[in-house]
Amino acid sequence: MTATAILPQVPTAEGAPVLQGDPEGIARLLDDVVAQRPGADRELVDRFKHHVARLLVRMLGPGPDVDDLLQEVMFRVFRRLHKVDPPDALPGYVTAITVLVARETIKKRRRSRWLSFFSNDVLAEMTAKHGADDVPEDVRAFYDALAKLSDHDQVCITLRHVEGMGLEEVAVAVGVSLATIKRHLQRAEAQLLDVLGHDGRGVAPWTRGGKS
């Protein structure tokens, strides 16, 4: 399988599609950045920052760390840009780096003993902005249940079901085969539904298909 990004055109917060099928433009951009042509690094950041930020939020939730992590992702992207091959693998490469940084962050949060997946800055920011009562109970339950999964499974679930990536995209992003990701997702989904079912807080309509 090649590392070609098959990314959906998902509107960002800015209202514009993130990444479009433009292999020639991406190849040219990669060339320009590696050759250090003026303005190329800015163009790369402009092109990918909203995509990276959205993925980070999907996997980690919104919060004050998103900007710091966005910088970390871009630092790692630039550091190994010369190794991206073929050039149109650039979007997939950026996604994979983002997933790696997100997983490291999840592990770090676990080590610092935050028990809830989105407990620290993330839910703080959401509750600060919207009020604790405004964060829907089913969303909160989803966060809490996800926290009981491994960091790998959390990432797979959020990329698949929150970001809406296809199976092949998720496989490329986390660096496993299609067959492996299917197995991992099946296991993770069963575990998540089990936790959500036992919890029963406001998610029953979802798990029974009652809500749209």
Binding site: K49, P64, M74, W114, S119, K129, G131, V162, L193, W206
Partner: protein
């Protein structure tokens, strides 16, 4: 209901909630991101140099050579063309450029017809006064380094960058051309960060430069021990832009400083917000972030900040309560942590830290 479809529906709802939060939280601008990337690159380069230097020392030791190579980040100025390294003192470039190369890789080049004065050399930086002409500055920045270029009443504080500085004594104008990274320019009428790419000219209406930016002592053949130059006079309060800014504008500046790695400046501005706009939402946010920034290095300060946020109520009170509970538990004050945990479970029964609070309560004897 198929599991895949159920989770897809729930996931979509989560995604919508996240998009709402993301839409309300503007991302860092591209300049800030690129400045952060440049800073991380320099830090990585600095670490590699340290590793190479340490390896050289190890090899010399093993070979039994009485090496005088020091794996240190001490900076000593090296004059151009291999001449003995002077320390402080004036320089004048004639028809050709005059580079000053420092041990950490920093280079300051006096362009032709430029006069400058190396005030002081420190372990992790130097101070240079530009008397006339153009300096081409490339600083290898690390967390410890501090470089200042003074020109007339201005101080260009280098936070990791490449730039040109031109000073015209007749017109008292300073022009900065940013090529990479960022600097901070302060003076009687300015306190401004500049990030590459950017070119800006500064001119303050002052009768004469502050007396503190003075010529060094006549004896310039002193040993290499650092001789600290007097610091520039502090900016008059009524000319400080920060004092005139609104709370949201100050918080934005503080956030930029925090994300750009200038923790000291971020702290100053967050404290200013608390002082000037007490009881405001921005003050609560500033206190919360000050607490976060202090947790590892100054836990008492962090505890104080979180306590203030909790007492004020407001949007960050719940999170400050959770963090304080965690902080006290981590510091070993289990009694205090338990009190906070019990209180948390009463006030925030559905809060994100309820499971942790319950575990603290359950573990109590």
């Amino acid at each position: 209901m198929n599991a895949e479809r159920s989770l897809g529906r729930l996931g979509a709802a989560v995604g919508r909630e996240q998009d709402r939060a993301l839409a309300e939280q503007p991302l860092a601008d591209t300049d800030t991101i690129l400045a952060g990337v440049a800073r991380k690159n320099r830090r990585a380069t600095s670490r590699r140099r340290m590793t190479v230097a340490a390896a050289m020392v190890a090899c010399a030791t093993i070979a039994g050579v009485g090496s005088t190579v020091k794996a240190t980040r001490e900076v000593a100025p090296v004059a151009s063309q291999g001449a003995p390294a002077p320390s402080v003192g004036p320089r004048q470039a004639g028809e050709v450029k005059m580079p000053l190369r420092f041990e950490d890789g920093t280079t300051i080049v006096l362009q032709p017809q430029t006069r400058a004065d190396l005030h002081a050399v420190r372990a992790h930086g130097a101070e240079l006064r530009l008397d006339e002409g153009v300096l081409d500055v490339s600083v290898v920045h690390t967390e410890e380094s501090r470089w200042d270029v003074f020109a007339g009443p201005f101080d260009v504080h280098v936070t990791g960058t490449k730039f040109d500085a031109r000073w015209e004594p007749k017109t008292q104008k300073l022009t900065i051309v940013m090529r990479e990274g960022s600097v901070r320019v302060t003076g009687p009428c300015v306190d401004e960060p500049l990030t590459a790419p950017n070119t800006k000219t500064f001119a303050c209406d002052v009768a004469k430069p502050p007396a503190s930016v003075a010529a060094p002592a006549a004896d310039t053949t002193a040993d290499p021990a650092p001789a600290e130059a007097p610091k520039p006079a502090p900016t008059p309060k009524n000319a400080d832009d920060l004092e005139a800014k609104s709370a949201p504008a100050l918080v934005t500046l503080a956030d930029e400083a925090r994300l750009g790695g200038d923790a000291a400046r971020a702290r100053r501005i967050y404290e200013l917000v608390r002082r000037r706009f007490p009881a405001s939402p921005e003050a609560a946010r500033s206190a919360f972030l000050l607490g976060r920034m202090s947790e590892q290095t100054a836990p008492n300060e962090a505890a104080q900040a979180y306590g203030e946020v909790m007492r004020g109520g407001g949007a960050y009170a719940q999170e400050a309560h959770g963090r304080l509970m965690e902080l006290e538990q981590r510091r070993g004050d289990t009694a205090r942590a338990r009190v906070l945990a019990v209180d948390y479970l009463v006030k925030f029964p559905n809060g994100p830290h309820r499971a942790y609070a319950a575990s603290i309560e359950a573990a109590a004897p």
